[in-house]
């Protein structure tokens, strides 16, 4: 039985156009590359996630700053941050048994035991699965709701768009929309991150009198309280945002929660 070293030398000594050597080199290069990439990715993941989390927090803070009078309101209410609550999306009730600090909606959406598969006809935002619970951010004063912020996400043109939708106490008026994560085409769809575009959202209304979700991004100029100007050259990114809001304000999204808030209050 030859030693492994001798086998290795015999392998290297084979001619370069030999089939076994070609195959062996291909496997080895792929294997080593895969190990290097995986090790780096796994080692650096906690750092990267910390950055993403800090970024998300900063965007919520920035969103609060864009809302007129929100800081003053918060000072009056004696809080310096929004309160995070976990909501069960199926019945719209709070789920106090889940710790908001450790709940990861993104991870939960991938596991079968903490999420549901969406029926294709309801899955307008292209999500495939939806977590059973979602964090919402609330601002209240003396038991009255002042602001509710809902995290939403959906498929855009070439990436998953994640955003925060802030609603006024009437639960039908948009207070702000902030895109927290996207990878759309730089210069076109990626402009949904620009404050100028996000400034179009405050004051828009979600549903019409009959309760149909009407809010949408339109091509060209918006008309009426439900429409928002699209970005030229980024129609599919705009459609992605429309679908995302349609989904998350619908029955598989936050509709049960919003209905319950309207009926019962906090």
């Amino acid at each position: 039985m030859p030693s492994p070293m001798a086998l290795w030398r015999a392998f290297l000594a084979r001619p370069n156009d030999d089939r076994i050597k070609t195959f062996g080199i291909a496997v080895l290069v792929a294997l080593v590359s895969a190990v290097v990439v995986s090790v780096t990715s796994v080692t650096l993941q906690p750092l990267q996630e910390a950055h993403l989390e800090a970024e998300r927090q900063a965007r919520i803070e920035a969103m609060l700053d864009t809302l007129p009078g929100m800081r003053a309101l918060m000072e009056e209410a004696g809080v310096d941050a929004l309160e995070t609550r976990i909501v069960s999306l199926s019945d719209g009730r709070f789920a106090p048994e889940i710790d908001p600090a450790s709940y990861d909606m993104r991870a939960a959406a991938e596991l079968p035991e903490t999420s549901i598969a969406l029926p294709p006809e309801a899955d307008v935002a292209g999500l495939k699965r939806r977590a059973n619970f979602a964090p919402v951010y609330l601002l209240q004063r003396d038991g009255d709701l002042m602001l509710v912020v809902l995290p939403v996400h959906g498929t855009g043109y070439q990436s998953t768009i994640r955003a925060m939708l802030a609603l006024e106490p009437d639960l039908n008026t948009v207070a702000a929309l902030t895109v927290t994560e996207q990878g759309e085409t730089p210069g076109l769809g990626a402009r949904i991150e620009e404050p100028d575009w996000q400034a179009l959202w405050p004051g828009k209304e979600i549903a019409d009198q009959t309760g149909r979700i009407e809010i949408r991004v339109v091509r060209g100029e918006a008309s009426g309280p439900h429409q928002v100007d699209g970005i030229s050259g980024a129609t599919r990114t705009g459609n992605g945002i429309t679908n995302m809001l349609q989904f998350w304000l619908g029955e598989y999204g936050y509709a049960p929660f919003l209905d319950r808030l309207e009926r019962e209050g906090l």
Binding site: N16, K21, A190
Partner: protein, 218 residues
């Protein structure tokens, strides 16, 4: 050729961007500011040196039939590793570079040097060749980045150099400089200057235009 030449030749004489016209895509995309241009330059130089070292090291055992696949696998892995490091340690800049770090893989410059040089030369000259080409690419990127940021926003590395009118100064930023075509203009002007000084780089016309009496009648 001495080792020093591997580094100095690609700077101007054999510059990958202005002579070989390689890597133009990223040169347009990431040069809106000096910071992104600098980060991209460092990332590309690292990939060039690293891939040159690895490919040169195993060059005797790379089967000819799959050599491009092996090269691109090695290059792609290094690009992913560098992208991961940027996302972990330079998050803001990696957000601004977005997909363009990943696109180093498709940069003809990297595969070109691997195939043309590292496959045929020992490790040290290959690494130096990678370094030289990386620096040549960086030089052009930094010049273009500096011009675009200075004229387009009045800043350099984010620091105000020319106070814009919006901030009460005199400088009116050129919006064109923030758009990709301006990089074409600047690179073209650089090529013009370089070929005026180093006349050896001027290419002979393959198909001269026929004018006047020579012109063929339709």
């Amino acid at each position: 050729m001495s080792l020093r030449h591997h580094i100095t030749r690609p700077l101007i004489e054999q510059n990958p961007i202005t002579l070989q016209i390689l890597g133009i895509c990223s040169a347009l995309a990431v040069t809106t500011s000096l910071t992104t241009a600098l980060t991209m330059s460092v990332a590309l130089t690292l990939v060039l040196c690293g891939s040159a070292a690895v490919i040169s090291l195993i060059r005797h055992h790379i089967p000819g039939s799959i050599r491009l696949i092996v090269q691109i696998t090695i290059i792609a892995s290094m690009v992913i590793v560098i992208d991961e490091f940027l996302q972990a340690y330079a998050f803001q800049i990696s957000q601004r570079l977005s997909i363009f770090v990943g696109l180093i893989v498709t940069n003809c410059l990297v595969l070109g040097r691997a195939e043309a040089f590292a496959m045929r030369n020992p490790v040290l000259p290959s690494v130096l060749d990678g370094l030289g080409n990386g620096l040549g690419y960086s030089l052009i990127l930094l010049i273009v980045g500096a011009i675009r940021e200075l004229l387009g926003a009045g800043t350099l590395m984010g620091r105000t150099i020319l106070t814009t009118q919006a901030e009460g100064g005199w400088f009116q930023p050129l919006d064109l400089m923030q758009l990709a075509p301006s990089a074409f203009f600047i690179i073209a002007l650089l090529i013009w200057v370089i070929r005026t000084v180093w006349t050896r780089q001027v290419e002979t016309t393959e198909y001269p235009l026929r004018t006047g009496a020579e012109r063929r009648q339709p």
